[in-house]
């Protein structure tokens, strides 16, 4: 190999390496990193939204309702489940677990919340649902017809599930809708 060739080759090789580094970093950044960032947790019981809606004929508000003082109750308490599930309603393993591990010993089910905001955040469901007339699915996953409770992806760094809304999302929407973005509108 002549010196010139060597030079050329090494130049090409250099650029190739640049591309390798570039592509590798993109791969790590876009594909590997998100995998590494989250751990997966499973709900204590696989809740079947579809069956409650379709077969039990329940509406969303039966479980996800506003309290009298305007605060939002979120997930139902065990007492609500126990109304129907005092004994297993079917053959599934989850059903048996529900009754034996939670309903009978009167232990609240430790549901993992997909989108619960941290302590220092006040989120008014009333403001968004009643006033701004937003749909639940504007922020939350659509659970209609869902037969399986999806696993919860938890950010290893922050400790929050990936569906928890970030502040910039709130800010952007507030700015867009011309709603106050003052800190104390949401923080406490």
């Amino acid at each position: 190999m002549t010196g010139e060739n060597k030079q050329q080759n090494s130049g090409l090789l250099g650029w190739a390496l640049f591309v390798v580094g570039f592509a590798g970093a993109l791969f790590v950044g876009w594909i590997v990193f998100p995998q590494l960032l989250y751990s997966t947790k499973y709900q204590p019981i696989n809740y079947n939204h579809a069956i409650h809606q379709e077969e039990a004929g329940m509406s969303c508000e039966d479980c996800h309702f506003f309290r009298e003082d305007g605060t939002y109750a979120g997930k139902p308490k065990l007492a609500a489940c126990a109304e129907c599930h005092s004994e297993p309603q079917g053959e599934t393993e989850d059903e048996a677990k529900l009754v034996s591990e939670y309903v009978e010993p009167e232990k609240e089910i430790p549901w993992i919340s997909y989108s619960r905001q941290p302590d220092n955040v006040f989120f008014s469901h009333a403001a968004h649902v009643k006033m701004a007339e937003m749909d639940c699915t504007d922020c939350h996953r659509d659970v209609e017809g869902q037969t399986k409770a999806p696993p919860v992806k938890i950010n290893r760094l922050t400790g929050y599930p990936n569906e928890v809304m970030k502040m910039y999302v709130c800010e952007d929407c507030h700015a867009q809708e011309n709603v106050s973005n003052a800190c104390d509108v949401c923080h406490k």
């Binding site: 506003f66 003082d69 305007g70 605060t71 941290p118 302590d119 220092n120 006040f122 008014s124 009333a126 403001a127 009643k130 006033m131 106050s180 003052a182 800190c183 104390d184 509108v185 923080h187 406490k188």
Partner: protein, 249 residues
């Protein structure tokens, strides 16, 4: 009115110093409401967190002409133009004056603990967490969920119980109302005051009790000459108390 942006809401407080009996209930109610931490020894007053501090005043005379009074001091929620002294200086936007309500907020999780705001406030209304707050085990159960607990190394201060405004709004929204009625939002100190020496409301509403009281000839503000424009207005019929409120040469 100050040149900064003010909405039709301007929450303020009137404290009648003559009615105040110095019972400290306001301060205790505040600590309970806002999860204010406490330590075994709180006698170093320059390191003790009391969102609502009660100052001791006396007329400087001796027996039997001696008279004293107590002056409760929440955060005065200054309206100064264009910014309150404290929010102006914060490098990280952890404290801010809400232009719609006039409330001065402080977000401890954003705070980096530089204490510039503490230095800027002439009323000592801001407090630094010199220690990690700790509650003896069972006492964690009495913490109010509406107010997040703080951590070592951040500043905190009275927010006029802004979480109560959030809750009141929640209730109003759920009932389909956008506006709050008078008295729906009241800070814990005002609610607790047994002598009803504290009145809270919207200073921009000329019909509100606070707005009327604020115009009383007995009304004064602390350090009026500094131009901080506090939204906490004091009342007293006593000259010596007025004299202690502001530096006048």
């Amino acid at each position: 009115m100050s040149g900064n942006k003010s909405g039709k809401l301007s929450y303020g407080m009137v404290i009648d110093v003559d009615k105040c009996t110095g019972c400290m209930t306001c301060a205790v109610a505040c600590q309970q409401e806002n999860n204010v931490p406490f330590r075994e020894d709180e006698t170093n007053k320059v390191r003790s967190i009391t969102w609502l501090e009660v100052f001791y005043l006396d007329n400087g005379k001796s027996y039997p002409d001696h008279r004293k009074a107590y002056l409760p001091r929440p955060c005065l929620q200054c309206d100064a133009d264009p910014y309150p002294p404290c929010t102006f200086v914060c490098p990280v936007n952890a404290t801010q004056r809400d232009e719609e309500t006039g409330l001065v907020s402080h977000i401890p999780v954003r705070c980096i603990g530089c204490r510039y705001c503490i230095s800027a406030c002439s009323y000592h209304a801001r407090y630094f967490n010199w220690w990690d707050p700790k509650w003896p085990k069972p006492m964690e159960e009495m913490l109010t969920p509406e107010v997040s607990t703080r951590m070592r190394g951040v500043v905190e201060k009275c927010t006029f119980c802004v979480h109560r405004l959030q809750l009141a709004k929640d209730k109003a929204f759920a009932e389909g109302r956008r506006e709050l009625d008078d008295g729906e939002y009241v800070p814990a100190c005002v609610e607790a005051c047994p002598a009803k020496a504290m009145v809270f409301g919207n200073l921009s509403d000329s019909h509100s009790e606070v707005a009327k009281l604020a115009k009383s000839p007995k009304a004064f503000r602390l350090l009026e000459r500094l131009g901080t424009k506090p939204k906490v207005i004091y009342l007293s019929g006593q000259e010596w108390i007025h004299k202690l409120a502001d530096n006048v040469i």
